[in-house]
């Protein structure tokens, strides 16, 4: 067997690696916002402070993984970027609003007045947008794997014209675009721009993303505090969200069978990775029960990574099911190779820097860091 990878496969892989980092780190930052929203009881304030300290120094760096995914997509697979941007205009715009509100509100809370009402206002916006954004991310992932968006050959045979099975489509400058209509009524606008993502399957994937991010955050947060009671709070939350995300994952699996049949078959074929995810899940749960929080963090990260990789392997070689693949969307070889070279050089510079950032804020003795960070922020 030949295991050599083509440039487009390497770049597809790079996108998945970046997406994995985004899920593990950026995703957990969103999850932190979810727990901010759900903070209750006598220690709600301490819970919120732990969350803010945990994500403060790192969320901006974590956010850049998403930009990396987008940049690789539009440079190396421009046709897929174009088609996705057209059909998913509405959920992508909503995602952007969520991203803006989350980042701004978090920063405003840090630097605005420390009066309770002001803090509550920004905290609420931060928490709500942290909850909505992952759902939209999941919806977008769900649509591109659902096979509901048909992209026909364009006028010159390269650019994407996208059409619906029922012949409904909207003319663009270069081609036409549309989505599979399930015999649904509605205006052409609704059929093309709304209906593909207002479906049970993508929405279920949205909630799966939300629950996984919340789960990751809770597991990480057990490592981010020395306060035993707060740690117990997050431990309980981690265990609850473990089962919630498990249940939603089951629901997505069942829905995929009818709603995304082709994707479902490929998903099933990627079963070795699902077994890995299951083993990690069990490991993480056991560690949570036994209070091995560092190990739980590692297992939880592996679990979420493997869920993502299982999806990616099932999706391969598609970027947008059923028509766009990493092959028929690939840019010219020179561009692909230059981007690979940039990624290699970038990784050599980036990973040590990233590790250094994490070592300062995440891997050192907690109490010292906490005080020093608080001191850095003092007026």
């Amino acid at each position: 067997m030949n295991f050599s990878l083509s440039p487009e496969e390497i770049l597809g892989g790079a996108m998945i690696v970046a997406a994995t980092f985004y899920a593990l780190m950026g995703g957990a930052d969103y999850g932190g916002g979810v727990w901010d929203l759900l903070a209750f009881g006598s220690r709600a304030k301490q819970q919120r402070e732990t969350i803010a300290e945990a994500i403060g120094p790192i969320w901006e760096a974590n956010h850049v993984w998403l930009i990396l995914v987008i940049v690789i997509l539009f440079t190396c697979f421009p046709r897929a970027f174009s088609a996705i941007s057209i059909v998913l205009h509405i959920p992508l715009s909503l995602l952007l609003i969520g991203i803006i509100m989350r980042g701004s509100a978090f920063t405003f809370r840090t630097y605005d007045s420390h009066k309770d009402n002001v803090q509550r206002f920004w905290g609420r916006i931060f928490a709500i947008s942290s909850t909505i954004t992952p759902i939209l991310l999941g919806i977008i992932i769900g649509v591109i794997s659902s096979g509901d968006i048909i992209v026909g050959p364009g006028v010159d045979g390269t650019s994407g014209g996208v059409g619906t099975s029922s012949g409904i489509g909207t003319s663009g400058g270069i081609g036409t675009i549309g989505a599979v209509s399930d015999g649904f009524g509605g205006s052409p606008f609704y059929n093309v721009y709304v209906q593909p993502w207002i479906q049970p399957f993508p929405i279920a994937v949205g909630f799966l993303a939300l629950s996984l991010f919340a789960y990751l955050a809770a597991v990480y947060l057990t490592n981010d505090t020395k306060d035993l009671e707060v740690q117990n709070d997050f431990r309980r939350r981690a265990i609850v969200s473990f089962f919630v995300s498990g249940a939603i994952a089951g629901g997505v699996f069942v829905l995929a069978k009818t709603e995304a049949p082709e994707g479902f078959q490929d998903l099933v074929n990627a079963f070795p990775i699902h077994i890995g995810a299951a083993i990690s899940a069990v490991g993480s749960l056991v560690c949570l029960f036994k209070r091995h929080f560092r190990l739980a963090r590692l297992f939880a990260a592996m679990q979420v990574s493997m869920i993502l990789w299982g999806w990616a392997l099932g999706q391969y070689p598609y970027l947008l099911r059923p028509d766009l693949t990493i092959r028929n969307c690939a840019a010219n070889p020179l561009t692909l190779n230059l981007v690979i070279a940039a990624l290699v050089v970038g990784a050599v510079l980036l990973f040590p820097s990233f590790y250094y950032l994490m070592r300062i804020f995440k891997l050192t003795e907690k109490r010292d860091t906490k005080e020093a960070v608080a001191d850095s922020l003092s007026p």
């Binding site: 998403l66 400058g173 020179l334 981007v339 820097s353 020093a372």
Partner: protein, 511 residues
């Protein structure tokens, strides 16, 4: 409403919003690092305080800049999918590099902001320097990509079968109809703007040549210097205003002096980089150059207009002051050079002349005022006069605070509106790039409302940071931060010092 117009409004609004944060994100880290370096070198704690306070402002602005920049990277596809589909593989490389620069910036900004007491001082300063350098590189890469839209290079265009070339002989193409496939060099399209074929396919793509397109470097240098000048002048102005209220406050003195030095150097260099850029525009985008100056008729020894109201219907400019032969000289280094007027080109290829003309005039005027104020500061310095004694100078500096940003905003209007109707000069029209999605007024108004809200909050938060400035009077070396925690009702700048009389020193102009 017209969707194309709405898409352009949304893109323009998003850029106009983001660019303020991007510019400060490039300029402020430099000033922060200089302050920290001065602290380490002199041991003067006022500089430490200054670096810390500037870094907090940087934190607020960087966060909003990061999210608004993310919006732009998505909007390229949401609003202009056909542009991205066509040119992503040609011009994506600088965006990929920018991604890495942004990454470095975010990582080391995290260390800089939160790590004052966690890393050694030298490492802390080095993190700041990395933030400054990566900010500079981010700006460079993004502007290189914009340069490509003005002077597209690094690819050729393969025309669809049946396409007839109707171009004059001698521009690198066979005249008249030619056999297929026809491969066209985009340079010939730029030279012959009466041409449009979005259905051609890009071939022979060389992303490196595209990145180092002719407009890229001059545009980037002009923009980066503008970022430093605008940021430094804004802070110089803010602290000059504070000094008008409390002349003896060493914190504001140091802050103003440092900002003024950075701003003055940049503002004095800027006209030169603008000149280089204008010469490039004259050569590559003659329509745009003519629009800058509302030059309707081709002229030898064309005058430079100052001010003026373009009357497009009658193809003339009213009320302008003319500097004879100056435009020919500035564009071609020859007082009698021939400058092509707008009438040489079909009207449908004209940008919106009044907008380009007014914006260009405002940009140049803002830049010139900043240069003159810088020279004024230089005169003070050479004559060893204390700038603080000149109320007129402090007021002038205060008035200059927004000028750099006015120049940046209008400058971008000039370059973007001046390129219309093209999204890629001579190759693809903006109307052929826009998304087919209808109802674009909705996202435009949504994002505009959101950004207005954020702008108000950011201004308020920066005001809060400045208002919390410590009151440090000369005789009492130690900086005195406001009482902790800063109570919300304490009035701004209220001295927290013992009421003993503070002797005024006569001269400390260069501090």
């Amino acid at each position: 409403m017209d969707d194309l117009f709405m898409a352009r409004c949304q893109m323009g609004m998003s850029l106009a919003f983001h660019i303020v944060f991007a510019a400060i994100g490039i300029g402020l880290p430099l000033m922060m690092c200089i302050a920290e370096w001065l602290w380490l070198r002199t041991g003067d704690d006022v500089y430490h305080e200054l670096a810390k306070r500037w870094s907090k402002i940087a934190a607020i602005l960087f966060a909003v800049g990061a999210v608004s920049g993310t919006v732009l990277s998505f909007e390229l596809g949401l609003l202009w999918p056909h542009f991205m589909e066509w040119s992503g593989e040609i011009i994506g490389l600088p965006f990929a590099l920018e991604g890495f620069a942004f990454f470095t910036e975010a990582i080391f900004l995290g260390i800089y902001l939160y790590g004052w007491n966690l890393v050694p001082r030298a490492v802390h300063l080095a993190s700041g320097v990395l933030v400054a350098i990566s900010g500079l590189l981010s700006g460079l890469f993004v502007v290189l990509a914009n340069g490509w839209m003005n002077t597209p290079t690094g690819f050729k265009i393969q025309m669809p079968s049946g396409f007839k070339v109707h171009m004059p002989v001698g521009v690198g193409l066979p005249g008249g109809a030619a056999s297929n496939p026809i491969i066209v060099d985009p340079i010939t399209l730029v030279a012959n703007p009466d041409f449009n074929n979005p259905l051609g396919k890009p071939v022979a793509i060389d992303p490196v040549a595209a990145m180092f397109n002719p407009a890229g470097i001059p545009e980037a240098v002009h923009m980066l210097i503008a970022c430093y000048a605008a940021t430094a002048f804004m802070f110089a102005g803010i602290h000059a205003y504070c000094l008008l209220k409390d002349k003896r406050n060493v914190f504001h003195r140091r802050a103003m002096a440092l900002s003024l030095v950075v701003g003055a150097v940049m503002a004095i260099v800027q006209p030169l980089t603008g000149d280089v850029l204008a010469k490039m525009v004259a050569e590559r985008q003659p329509v745009k150059l003519a629009a800058f100056e509302s030059l309707f008729d081709t002229k030898e020894g064309a005058p430079l207009l100052i001010g003026g109201v373009p009357d497009v219907a009658n193809e003339k400019v009213n009320f302008a002051i003319e500097v004879p032969h100056a435009l020919s000289f500035l564009a071609y280094s020859d007082f009698n050079a021939k400058v092509k007027g707008l009438k040489e080109f079909p009207k449908e290829l004209w940008p919106n002349i009044p907008i380009v003309h007014y914006c260009f005039q405002i940009m140049v005027a803002s830049g010139m005022i900043m240069s003159l104020v810088s020279l004024w500061a230089g005169v003070h310095y050479v004559r060893r006069r204390n700038m603080l004694d000149s109320k007129a100078f402090l007021w002038a500096l205060t008035a200059c605070a927004p000028l750099g940003f006015i120049a940046i905003e209008t400058g971008w209007m000039v370059t973007e509106v001046g390129r219309q109707p093209w999204v890629i000069q001579g190759v693809m029209r903006t109307k052929d790039a826009v998304t087919p999605m209808p109802g674009l007024a909705v996202p435009f108004f949504t994002f505009t409302g959101l950004y207005l809200f954020l702008a108000v909050i950011v201004v308020w938060l920066v005001y809060r940071q400045v208002a919390k400035s410590p009151v440090v009077h000369e005789s009492l070396g130690e900086p005195v931060p406001p009482s902790e925690p800063v109570s919300e009702d304490r009035s701004e700048g209220e001295p927290i010092l013992p009421s003993e009389p503070v002797p005024e020193k006569p001269s400390e102009g260069e501090s």
